[in-house]
């Protein structure tokens, strides 16, 4: 019950309403690394993460993984295929051991008809997801992102004392105006073409000319 009170879908609901919804919930667990669902499969349920975390990703035909988000406790996934009736639009993998609460599609329809407040909460959740995805779409002009990341590596900011401060991937993302996941992919791509080498906490520029070419 405490968990239900905390999730956005159930915001503003009373104890009796939460108790009714609780009857529809089933529990599912997964070990670290388990694939919870695959892109393209039929979506049977909406899931909420109770403990642990899962990553949402798509895989290209070349086998490259694009992470679309990390879902942590009290957040949900499968909202889109459940509401639009299509297949799973992403694959889901457990990043840690996870406990999930699920609601089957047909049971969700009963809940939405019985408690209109839930429908309003669903709209807010979907709107928030849409905002995140629009931002990611902006970043998917990958060529521009890799160029910006290459520039940052060529000319990292100075710290005022003549030194070069260390940068996290989040720092580089903020500087490049992109998402952390895109910086990670850019670094991997730059390593693949031989411009840099990732050596634990060091980014080693191995070929400045290639890096300059990527920077444009």
């Amino acid at each position: 019950m405490e968990f239900l009170k905390s999730i956005p879908y159930c915001a503003g609901l009373g104890v009796d309403e939460l108790d009714s919804i609780r009857k529809f919930i089933f529990e599912k667990t997964a070990e670290k690394g388990d694939i919870v669902q695959l892109e393209g499969e039929s979506a049977g349920a909406l899931y909420f993460v109770v403990s642990g975390a899962v990553k949402l990703f798509k895989t290209s035909v070349e086998g490259k993984e694009q992470i679309l988000g990390i879902v942590r406790p009290w957040e949900s996934f499968n909202d889109v295929p459940i509401f639009d009736g299509g297949p799973n639009h992403v694959s889901v993998q457990a990043m840690t051991p996870v406990v999930l609460y699920g609601i089957k599609k047909e049971d969700l329809e009963v809940i939405l008809r019985s408690y209109p407040r839930v429908a309003l909460n669903v709209i807010k959740v979907l709107a928030s997801q849409m905002r995140h995805l629009v931002s990611l779409v902006e970043d998917l002009s990958f060529k521009h992102v890799i160029s910006r990341v290459a520039k940052i590596l060529l000319e990292p900011p100075e710290d005022g004392t003549g030194g070069r401060p260390r940068l996290t991937q989040q720092d580089m993302a903020a500087m490049a105006g992109t998402a952390r996941e895109m910086v990670s992919r850019s670094l991997q791509a730059l390593e693949e073409i031989g411009a840099i080498r990732l050596d634990r906490h060091r980014i080693v520029i191995t070929n400045r000319e290639v890096l300059k070419e990527m920077a444009g």
Binding site: R166, H201, I203
Partner: protein, 71 residues
């Protein structure tokens, strides 16, 4: 001393997600606050930084240039 990710304990909410995702057992919760164990197994995967919801873990990169001598 072996370079390890930076921990900001004042930001840690004790959720333990980083401990679960770490593949080299470098992270441990002590009194519900994250601590780090120095280990050469840490390959700087940055998964702990990515999964932390509060920014309590940081994996900064040092950008250096490889020096090479012509043959």
């Amino acid at each position: 001393m072996f370079e390890m990710p930076e921990i900001y304990q004042e930001k840690c909410n004790g959720c333990g997600l980083c401990v679960s995702v770490c593949g080299c057992k470098a992270l441990v919760l002590v009194n519900n606050i994250i601590s780090i164990i120095e280990t050469e197994e840490c390959d700087w995967c940055t998964q702990c930084e990515a999964i932390c919801p509060t920014g309590a873990i940081s994996c900064p990169f040092e950008i250096v240039e490889e020096l090479w001598e012509p043959e």
